[in-house]
């Protein structure tokens, strides 16, 4: 492996991991509150499309980003109404939203962009961190990312602090572990869970927008390619801890980046093996063969007051 290849590998691994880091960090909070938000992939796809569309219309990636996050939040709100208020099966609702998002974005993309799909969309430029980006090999790889990448890492810290040091974080953990006791202690279970789902929606929105306006500067049908599912597994892999989840997301990002590195190095490894690698890792993770997991006791369980 040459120095160039190493630099490209690290850079692309980080870049590919960022949407998963964003979505996974949001999902972590939602799951700690007891809601497994399986529509993450649909939220990312919706946001990727909305961001691309808005950025293309206004020529401003910042507007695109905001519209993307709002679209994702709208989806998250419906998800919360269904799974928290109406106590619908969280997983089935999630799958429904994923199918809907895939259908709606594909349809709208063909209707709106169809003839001009080659247009690039205005996207965010890269931010060079002064001094640090001059370090040989690692500098360009680590410190020439878009601003959103740095935001993603900051949000991991924020989420960690939120869970650990704030009363909201305490409420989230209480609601995810024992909603009945939390309710008796005066915590508003419904409100906390809504906020958890909305938080995951906002971050998934950032992750989706990252894909279209920060990374590829284009939208393609079904462009998330299951990144949302990877983010969910990263949370489980990471044992519901922000730092381990970050580690799992980075691992998935680098596993994906191998698909580009291995052919470049002319190694005789079937592409299919690389394609399935992240999912095999994830399967081992959810099966509990890697790390110790203790999931929030009330994960996926609906709460009915007094019931």
């Amino acid at each position: 492996m040459t120095e160039d290849q190493l630099a490209v590998f690290i850079g692309s691994g980080l870049r590919l991991a960022m949407p998963i880091v964003l979505a996974g960090t949001g999902e972590l909070l939602s799951q700690r509150a007891g809601v497994l938000n399986l529509s993450l992939d649909g939220m990312m796809l919706t946001s990727a499309f909305a961001a691309a569309l808005a950025s293309w219309l206004t020529k401003s990636p910042m507007v695109g980003l905001m519209v993307g996050v709002m679209a994702s939040l709208a989806l998250a709100y419906f998800q919360a109404v269904l799974s928290v208020t109406l106590r619908a099966n969280q997983l089935v609702v999630g799958i429904g939203f994923n199918i809907l998002a895939l259908g709606a974005t594909t349809f709208l993309y063909r209707e709106i962009f169809g003839p001009l799909s080659r247009d690039t969309i205005p996207g965010f430029g890269k931010v060079n961190v002064p001094w640090l980006s001059d370090i040989p090999v690692l500098g360009p790889a680590l410190f020439q990312q878009t601003g959103l990448a740095y935001l993603a890492l900051a949000l991991v810290v924020v989420t960690w602090a939120l869970l650990k040091f704030t009363s909201f974080g305490l409420a989230v953990r209480a609601v995810g572990d024992d909603p009945r006791a939390a309710d008796q202690a005066g915590i508003n279970v419904t409100r906390t869970r809504y906020l958890g789902v909305l938080y995951s929606g906002a971050l998934a929105g950032l992750g989706g927008a990252f894909m279209s306006v920060a990374d590829s500067n284009t939208f393609t049908e079904g462009m998330t390619k299951g990144a949302g599912y990877l983010a969910i597994t990263a949370v489980i892999f990471g044992g519901w801890s922000p730092w381990k989840t970050l580690g799992a997301c980075l691992l998935f990002g680098f596993a994906t980046a191998l698909q580009f590195l291995v052919p470049a190095m002319k190694l005789d490894v079937p592409v299919a093996v690389l394609l399935m690698l992240p999912y095999v890792l994830a399967l081992f993770a959810v099966a509990g063969f890697v790390g110790t997991n203790r999931q929030p006791a009330a994960l996926t369980l609906a709460f009915r007051r007094g019931g």
Binding site: L38, L82, L86, R87, A88, N89, L91, V92, V93, I95, G96, F97, N98, I99, L100, A101, L102, G103, A104, T106, F107, R110, E111, G226, Y229, I232, T233, I236, P270, V271, A272, V273, L275, M276, Y279, V280, A282, L283, V286, A287, G288, F289, T300
Partner: protein, 372 residues
């Protein structure tokens, strides 16, 4: 074992046999909810088509033509319905034990791949129809192992089966891609004329016999017969066997069932394996009845469609038949609509998503009625 299940039977909710035909509480809702959701979603679909400015009549004509415009199209729609139906049957089977099998697509893919491998290597020269029966069995078995793996993980490690079956699907699809990419596996030998990543065509004896051999335009094969048998079998097992009753008991209360002496772990593995086996059989039938060679992504979309079919049926095998036919015809229609009337087939995906959300979101209606 039998005695125990007999005691369980007394506590299980009665199925309302005998006496005046009276609907169980919530039964009307059970039928009404999916019907209303489907009709409403299709209306939304029509509105979307109208909003694109394309002619709704033209789109509908293309839709109708694709669904049922000719004997061949009807047959093709029914063949599609069969694949979805098998996955749907698998879904309700596992769901009876309160398990949600969302891995239909991976199970189809693995089943189809192994059926192809068997048909290409070894089955073709077998006598007495074994040539096509053996690949079907191998495909079913492969699907059963793939689905059963999720059951094993569930019962031994407590892994949520929704996540594991999803991941198994994401693993199965590259496996099929690998098998048609590599000449050492199933890819047909590279020649100058053709280098597509697909398997060679399976030999005639390994193809499923046609139902109407005298009518060359009819694509119907004995998969239809197998499907009818499977519907009846699933109905009998779920409604009238000790095994079905135990599944139900585990689904309602796993801990209580274990205390009552049911081996819940084995039951979970068995129900996931049966669900996976039905998916694998669907894959084998798709290859042997229609496609005749393995391609990458031949299973695309069938898993989720089958899941929706199972979900809509609310646990009834007859409901699976209705739902499978609905989606089989919808799919065929939507493809024709995209080609002829230039309306994206994704409209049907939107409708399906809406149906799933609406049905999942209205369980409280049914539960409320039933608990009165």
């Amino acid at each position: 074992m039998l005695k125990r299940s007999a005691t369980l039977a007394m506590h299980a909710p009665s199925q309302g046999t005998g006496g005046a035909p009276k609907l169980a509480p919530g039964a009307l809702m059970k039928i009404a909810v999916p019907v209303v959701a489907t009709v409403a979603a299709l209306l939304v679909g029509l509105l979307i088509i109208a909003s694109t400015g394309s002619s709704v009549t033209e789109a509908m004509l293309a839709f109708w033509d694709g669904m049922a415009g000719s004997g061949y199209n009807v047959g093709a729609s029914i063949n599609r319905a069969i694949s979805l139906g098998f996955v749907g049957l698998g879904f309700i089977f596992a769901n009876r034990a309160n398990l949600t099998n969302v891995g239909g697509e991976g199970q189809i893919a693995i089943g189809g791949m192994f059926a192809t491998a068997m048909a290409l290597h070894g089955a073709a020269s077998l006598p007495f129809g074994l040539a096509f029966v053996l690949p079907l069995l191998v495909g079913t078995l492969a699907g059963a192992l793939w689905g059963g793996l999720a059951g094993v993980l569930k019962s031994s490690r407590g892994t949520n089966e929704v996540i594991s079956t999803l991941l198994l699907t994401f693993i199965a699809l590259p496996v099929v891609y690998w098998s048609v990419e590599s000449v050492r596996l199933l890819r047909k030998p590279l020649t100058e004329v053709s280098s597509l990543p697909e398997s060679a065509e399976i030999a005639d004896p390994t193809k499923l016999p046609m139902l109407f051999p005298n009518d060359p335009t009819s694509p119907l094969h004995i998969g239809l017969v197998l499907f009818v048998i499977a519907v009846v079998a699933v109905w009998v097992v779920l409604k009238h066997s000790a095994f079905g009753l135990k599944l139900r008991a585990v689904g309602l209360n796993e801990l209580a069932s274990r205390r009552a002496g049911i081996r819940t772990g084995r039951l979970i593995v068995a129900s996931m394996a049966i669900a996976g086996g039905l998916g694998g059989l669907a894959g084998a039938i798709m290859i042997q009845g229609q496609n005749y060679y393995l391609t990458n992504e031949f299973s695309s979309g069938y898993g989720f469609d089958g899941l929706v079919v199972g979900l809509l049926s609310r646990g009834s095998p007859l409901g699976v038949v209705v739902g499978a036919l609905l989606f089989g015809f919808l799919r065929s229609g939507s493809i024709a609509m995209e080609i002829t009337a230039h309306v994206p087939a994704a409209v049907v995906l939107i409708c399906q998503g809406l149906i799933v959300i609406a049905v999942a979101g209205s369980t409280w209606l049914i539960d409320r009625k039933a608990s009165k």
